[in-house]
Amino acid sequence: MEKNIYIPDLAKIIRIDSVTANEKIFDIAFIDKEVQKSFNFKPGQFVELTVFGVGEAPFCVASNPRNNDKFQLCVRAVGSVSKALHNLKEGAKVGIRGPFGKGVFPYKEAEQHNVLVVAGGMGLVPLMSFLTYMMDLREQYKNVMIIYGAVNPANILYKNEISYWNSRDDISVCVTVDNPDDKWTGEIGVCTKLIPRVDFKPEDTYTIVCGPPVMYKYVVQELEKKNFKEDKIFLSLERRMECGVGKCNHCHIGEKLVCVDGPVFSLWELRNIKEAI
């Protein structure tokens, strides 16, 4: 019989790392080793995580898809499930369904092209699966530039990874903050401000954007000024997703379902969908 799409597999939180005041990284592995081994996700896909007694919520997988002995989520405590998840200790059991989503970051299509990554706030989290994958296979891609905007220095996620990227000479990284503190020496302002500096050839560049809903309109405007191609710009969308499998319908936008057809869409697809951005 086919697997029941509503029953999660049990998984264990094997490590918790507090990255900022409000965000934690969870390393998770399925209890059944066979399930873990067959858990092959693509960059941009998400899982539905159950904290028993509280509920279920979608989270994009943040770890490298090439690593299949565990996976990683980075979670901000905003809703019931994420807050309850923050209260769990290492060793706690959760339920996992997924990976879900056919719309993933264009990790294959972007090979032999320049890659521009624009991340705002928590938007860096889903991108981490793509970025870590790309770093492993760096020679497959041409120039790579990462633009990341955070509210303030304390909110910057993945500081270790960012300094590692900074140490490499084959990636350029620009981090900008809205509200700098005394020690901040980097860029100030929203991440859209840095787009004009990108000197990649539009027809040879894949752009991948992930951030809060308000950011997309402005990022897209900047990208268009530079004549970037709509079918080479990809955005990851956030909507309320309860089932993850295209049944509960909460995440629909126009004719598409974010959980099934997304969460990553090309700008060309989104142009033809009302309410998308």
Partner: protein, 249 residues
């Protein structure tokens, strides 16, 4: 995890909400196992001022109510309003329509000076309320749901949709199809459409939904040849309390 200490208090009201907690019967043992009840106005004589969560029923209708509420709010970390009187003012607020002095005179005559009544208000006019268990009387399963949510650290799921949703889920015939009037379409659900299920129109004891289409509702009631006083009466029964940032009519 240590058991949370809970105080259950009653201000001006009928005490029915506290009674509903006692009516939990088959779940009472589990409830006592999950929380430590250190004060329960209607049920236990002992009293302690050491509690984390306060469940408060009744509205603030006297100066004495207000003093007690302020005392409780200084101690409790989480305040849960329980019932219509506490959450939206409830029927107690009908008094306000007469004016406090006039109401005192009507009820207590020449003894009115003995009464320290003030304008009736729900408790959130004075203190910040974290969660609301709504209704007159509140739904027992919702009482359990909120307490359990507080224990597991979940935001309780209190409906903000109208009673129509519950009627339709239950397959009830619409009160209007039975020639009756009903406030369900603008009133907050969570009761399991208790009154319409018993073929009696909803009286909005849980207050209104966040964005009620009041004009449409007045037009609708007018179509049923109700006089403006009757319409206002339906809106006012539980919701006469005017509050600046709450949508009332």
């Amino acid at each position: 995890m240590s058991k949370p200490k809970v105080g259950i208090f009653g201000l001006t009201g009928c005490g029915g909400c506290q009674l509903e907690i006692l009516n939990l019967e088959d779940q009472l043992l589990d409830l006592f196992a999950a929380i430590d009840i250190v004060h329960f106005t209607e049920a236990i004589t002992e009293h302690s001022d050491n509690y984390d969560i306060a469940l408060i029923e009744g509205s603030v209708a006297t100066k004495h109510d207000l003093e007690r509420l302020e005392h409780i709010s200084k101690i409790a970390k989480v305040i849960v309003s329980i019932g219509a009187c506490s959450g939206i003012g409830g029927v107690n607020c009908l008094k306000n329509l007469y004016g406090v002095e006039k109401a005192k005179e009507l009820v207590y005559g020449d003894k009115k000076e003995w009464i320290d009544a003030i304008e009736t208000k729900p408790i959130d006019e004075y203190v910040k309320v974290d969660y609301y268990i709504r209704g007159c009387p509140p739904n027992r399963s919702e009482i359990v749901d909120v307490i359990r949510s507080l224990i597991v650290g979940k935001i309780p799921e209190i409906p903000n949709y109208p009673v129509c949703v519950e009627c339709k889920r239950l397959g009830n015939t619409c009160m209007y199809d039975l020639g009756k009037t009903c406030m369900g379409v603008v009133s907050r659900a969570g009761c399991g459409a208790r009154c319409p299920s018993a073929k009696s129109g909803c009286e909005a004891c849980r207050g209104f939904i966040d964005d009620p289409n009041v004009n449409a509702q007045k037009d609708l009631l007018a179509k049923y040849n109700l006089k403006i006083e009757d319409i206002m009466g339906m809106f006012n029964l539980y919701n006469a309390c005017k509050k600046t940032d709450r949508k009332t009519i």
